[in-house]
Amino acid sequence: MFNDSLKQLSKRLASREISSVELTTEFLERIRQLNPRYNAFITVDEEKSLAQARHADRKIAAGEMDFLTGIPVAQKDIFCAEGWLTTCGSRMLSNFVSPYDAGVIERFNQTGAVNIGKTNMDEFAMGSSNETSYFGPVRNPWDVAAVPGGSSGGSASAVAARMAPVATGTDTGGSIRQPAALCGISGIKPTYGTVSRYGMIAFASSLDQGGPMAKSAEDLALMLNVMTGFDERDSTSLQREKEDYARDLDKPLSGLRIGLPKEYFAEGMSSDVEKAIAQALDEYRKLGAEMVDVSLPNSPLSIPVYYVLAPAEASSNLSRFDGVRYGYRAQHYQDLAEMYRNTRAEGFGAEVKRRILIGTYVLSHGYYDAYYIKAQKLRRLIAQDFSDAFTRCDVIMGPTAPAVAFDLGEKSSDPIQMYLSDIYTSATNLAGLPGMSIPVGFGDKMRPVGLHIIGDYFSEARMLNIAHQYQLNTDWHLRIPQI
C-alpha cells in the first residue's frame, strides 16, 4: 500500500476497502518508525491529521468524494496551515502557529485531503542540501550518508521513504526538482503564476513557485489538478481556465522534438550522471522522439543572475521577521536597535544571513545599477534564449543536477559549490518556465539521477505526458530504497 499510486489509493478509498482514518494511521505509524532516521518532518500532529481523515471518511460516505479525498499529503513547512506550527525551517518561526491557511492548503482542505505533517526544509528555502534547517538535516533514504537535496528535502525524503504518498514543495531555483532528482522521485515546478503564493512564505517572490512531489508523473498531474488555479489574493496569480493536467498522459510521443542545449552537456556534469541521462535519451528515441541541438548561450549566467536577484528580494522579504509581532525575539537587549540586532542574529542561520547580506549589498545606493538592474537585463536575455530554443523543439532535456547526492557536510563550508547544484534549474525560475525532474537511473554509490525536462509556458500537460510515457516503459520510478 505504501507503494500505491494515487489512483490505486483513491480506488481503495472509493471502494471502502480502506478508510481514510486507516490509511492515515498507517502512514502516521510509518512516520513514527522512520522519521527519527530521516528527519523528514518538523511537525507531525496525529490528532489533527486523524480529524481530517474522519472528515474525509464522512465525505466519502456521503458520496462527495473528490479525487484526493482522504489521501494523506505531506506539506512543506513553508505553507501556512491554520493551527499548525509553520516554521519555514527557521528558529525565527520556531514558535509560530499560523492563524490562517495558505491558498494551496485551502485547496487540499476543500478537496478533503489529509495533512499528514509539515516537512523539513532548508531555512526559508535557502539551500540545496537541507542542511540549513534549524531543525536539523534531512537524510536521503537511498543512503543516510547523503543529503536529500533542498530546499524541499523533507518532502523528497518523505515520498522516497514512502512516509507519504505525495508531498508539496516549492521551487525558487530548483528546490523541487533537485531534491526530487537526488531522492529518486518525480517533481514539477509549474509555470510562474500557476500555483497561488498566498500563504507560502516568501523567499524570492518573482521566482517562488509551489508544486507537487510524487512517485510518478501521473501522480504529479493529479496533484497539480488540485494545487493550481487563480487566487485573487496573489497579484501574480494568473487568471486562466482550469485545466486537467492528466488529459494528455496517454498520448504517444512520435514526432516529439527534444532540444538538447549544448551548454548543458558541456563541462561540469559528472560522468555517472551523463551516462544515465544518455540512456534516458535513448529510451526517448525508442519512443519516437527526435533530438535537436539547441543553444542557451546565456545559461552560464543564470547562477550569478540568480544569486543577485534572489537574495535582493529575500533581503526585503525577510525584513518582517523583526521580533516585534510574532516569532522569535531575543531574550536580552537594551534598546530597540539591539532588540532587532539580537533577534535577527539569533533567529536566522548562517546561510540566511549570508543571503540577506548579499541582497542588501546589491540593492544599496551606488551598487543597484551595477548588480540589480544588470541582473534584471540578463534575466530577460536568459528568458529570450528559451523562447528562441522553443521555436526548434517541444521540450528541453538535460540533467537536473550536475552530480548525484553528495554526503552531508561535503559542501556545507563551500557556498559556491553548493550554489552550483542549481546550475541547470535556476534558469527556468528566472524565465518563469515550468520544469520537472523524473528518476532515470543511478550513478555513483547507487544514488539516483534525475532527468530535467523544461517546457514552454503552460506546457505542463505535455511535459507530464512526456514523463508518463517514459515511466510506462521504464521502472526507475518504481525502485524503492532499502530501508
Binding site: 501556512c80 509560530f96 495558505a102 517572490s205 501574480t236 526585503s316 525584513s319 509581532r325 540593492l363 545606493h365
Partner: protein, 479 residues
C-alpha cells in the same frame, strides 16, 4: 544682503477609500487599537498585497485635475527600513514611474496669481502608530493606520515665501476635497505637509542647502515653521556659517524647528520594484472615464463666475475656495442671475460671518440657498429693508416658521409701509410736530432734513422704505 526664500512642499493626502491600499481592512478613523489591522496589515508570514483600484482611480483623478501626465505602466517599489510600526520592514511606495508626473496648480497671494509646478504625485501606504505612553517603559504599536492609502504630492521649489507656501497648501487642500479624493481632515492627519526650505542670495541661480521640516499638520504651523526656519538659515549664513542638510521637526509649543536627523544618518532605503505587485497598466479609456467623472474644477468655475455672473476676480476666488461654497452660490445665483452679486455678498458676508461664529462649514449651514434667494427677492421687491433682512436671516437660522421667509416677515412685523396714504399721514403728523426743523430746512439747513427723515422712520418703527420717505418729504417741503 537680500535673500530669496525657496520652498518646495511634499504633501501627504489620505485617499478617501473605504478599505486600505493593499488589504481589505477598513480605513475608518478612531477605532480601538489594532482592530482594523488584518493579516496583510500585520505582515504575517506568507501574506501578499493586492492593490485597491479605488486608490489608483483617485490618484489618476488628481493627475487629471492638475493637467499632469499619467504614467502607464506605473510601478510600486519597496522602501526598506526597520521600525516597529512598519510591519513588513518596508513601505510599499513608488519610486520610478510614479502614477502622476508633472502638472501645475494656480495660486493667488493677495492680488497676484502664480503657477506652481508639481514634480510628481505617487501612491503609498501609511505606517502604523507607535505609542510611547502608558506602557510602563515599553512602546505600544497600533497598526490600524498601517496600509492606509496616501497620495504624496511633491511640488517643484517654486514657492518664494511662507505666504505662497500656505496659499499653495490651501489651494491643494481645496482641490483634493473638491474632487472628492481626500476628506482634508487635518486633525486626523488626512492632509500633512513637509516643507523643504532653503535661502539663496537674491539673483543667484544655485539653490542653497535645504532642510526638510516634517509633519506640519496645520496651515498656521506651516507658516510659522517656514518663517522660523528661514530666519534661522539667514542668521547662520550672515554670520558666515553654512547650512547642514538635515530633517527637522517643528515644535509647535516653542514655535521653532530642531534637528531630527542629519544627512549622515539618513537611511539607504534600497528601493526596488515590488515583485509582489505587477506594474499597473492604465488604459486610455480608463483615464477618459475618470476624466468624465471629474466635477467642473475650481479654476474653471472661477472664470465662469467672472464671465457669466460678472463677479470680480476676488469674489469668484472666494466663492470657489470650496466646492460646497461654490455649489451654494451657484444654487442661489441660478435662481437670481441678475442678482448674482447680491447672492455673493450674502454668502461672503452675513452667511460666512454666522458660520464662522458658530464654527460650521457651509455644507452644514442651516439656511439653504432657496431661502437666501427668497430673502433677496423680498429686498428687491421692497417688501423689507436691507436691515430687516438681517433680522429675517436670523429667524431663518433659528428655524422659525419652517424657514418660510414670508411667514417670518409677517410674524416679526418687518414689512415696509409701502402705502403712500398711510405714509403721507405720518409725514404730516411729523411735520406738524416739528415746525422748527421745517423752518431750519427751508432756511438752508440740510441737517434738519435728515432729522425729519429720522423722525418719520421712527414714527413708522423702521418699516418704511427710507428712499420712499426721502422722496415724499422733499416733495412736501420743496412744494
Amino acid at each position: 544682503m537680500q535673500w530669496e526664500i525657496v520652498i518646495g512642499l511634499e504633501v501627504h493626502t489620505q485617499l478617501s477609500t473605504q478599505s486600505k491600499i493593499f488589504s481589505g481592512a477598513a480605513t475608518a478613523y478612531g477605532a480601538e487599537p489594532n482592530t482594523q489591522a488584518c493579516f496583510v496589515d500585520l505582515a504575517l508570514p506568507g501574506v501578499l498585497p493586492v492593490l485597491n483600484r479605488g486608490a489608483v482611480e483617485r490618484a489618476i483623478q488628481f493627475g487629471l485635475a492638475i493637467n499632469a501626465k499619467i504614467n502607464s505602466p506605473s510601478i510600486f517599489a519597496r522602501k526598506n527600513y526597520f521600525y516597529p510600526d512598519l510591519p513588513k520592514g518596508y513601505q510599499i511606495s513608488q519610486y520610478e514611474q510614479p502614477i502622476v508626473e508633472g502638472g501645475s496648480i494656480g495660486i493667488q497671494v493677495g492680488e497676484t496669481e502664480k503657477t506652481i509646478r508639481l514634480t510628481r504625485a505617487h501612491l503609498e501606504e501609511d505606517a502604523g502608530k507607535s505609542l510611547h505612553e502608558d506602557f510602563h517603559g515599553m512602546s505600544g504599536i497600533d497598526l490600524n493606520r498601517a496600509g492606509t492609502p496616501l497620495l504624496e504630492i511633491v511640488s517643484e521649489p517654486d514657492l518664494r515665501s511662507s505666504a505662497e507656501a500656505v496659499a499653495y497648501a490651501k489651494t491643494l487642500h481645496a482641490l483634493v476635497r473638491w474632487i472628492g479624493i481626500c476628506d482634508g481632515n487635518m486633525q486626523e492627519g488626512s492632509f500633512r505637509c513637509d516643507a523643504n526650505v532653503s535661502v539663496r542670495p537674491l539673483g543667484h541661480e544655485k539653490y542653497g542647502t535645504r532642510c526638510e521640516i516634517k509633519n506640519l499638520n496645520s496651515f498656521r504651523f506651516l507658516e510659522k515653521a517656514i518663517d522660523f526656519e528661514v530666519e534661522r538659515q539667514i542668521e547662520i549664513l550672515e554670520e558666515g556659517g553654512s547650512i547642514r542638510q538635515e530633517t527637522r521637526l517643528f515644535d509647535a509649543n516653542k514655535g521653532e524647528t530642531r534637528t531630527m536627523r542629519t544627512k549622515e544618518d539618513a537611511n539607504d532605503y534600497r528601493y526596488f520594484p515590488d515583485p509582489d505587485l505587477l506594474p499597473v497598466e492604465i488604459a486610455p479609456d480608463w483615464i477618459e472615464q475618470l476624466r468624465a467623472s471629474l466635477p467642473e474644477l475650481p479654476q474653471a468655475r472661477r472664470e465662469r463666475y467672472i464671465t457669466q455672473y460678472g463677479l470680480s476676480a476676488y469674489d469668484a476666488g472666494v466663492l470657489t475656495s470650496s466646492r460646497e461654497m461654490a455649489d451654494y452660490f451657484e444654487a442661489a445665483a441660478e435662481q437670481l442671475p441678475e442678482c448674482a452679486k447680491l447672492c455673493a455678498n450674502w454668502i461672503m458676508g452675513d452667511i460666512s460671518a454666522r458660520l464662522n461664529k458658530e464654527g460650521l462649514d457651509i455644507a452644514d449651514c442651516p439656511v439653504g440657498p432657496a431661502q437666501v434667494v427668497r430673502l433677496i427677492q423680498r429686498i428687491q421687491d421692497g417688501t423689507i429693508s436691507g436691515k430687516a433682512a438681517k433680522t429675517v436671516f436670523d429667524g431663518l437660522w433659528q428655524g422659525e416658521h419652517h424657514q418660510d421667509v414670508d411667514a417670518i416677515i409677517e410674524a416679526r412685523g418687518l414689512k415696509q409701509i409701502a402705502d403712500d396714504n398711510t405714509l403721507e399721514k405720518l409725514i404730516d403728523e411729523v411735520l406738524a410736530a416739528n415746525v422748527q426743523q421745517v423752518v431750519d430746512y427751508r432756511g438752508g439747513k440740510e441737517k434738519a432734513f435728515n432729522s425729519l427723515v429720522g423722525q418719520v422712520m421712527k414714527a413708522t418703527k423702521g418699516k418704511a422704505n427710507p428712499a420712499q420717505v426721502n422722496a415724499m418729504l422733499r416733495e412736501k417741503l420743496g412744494g
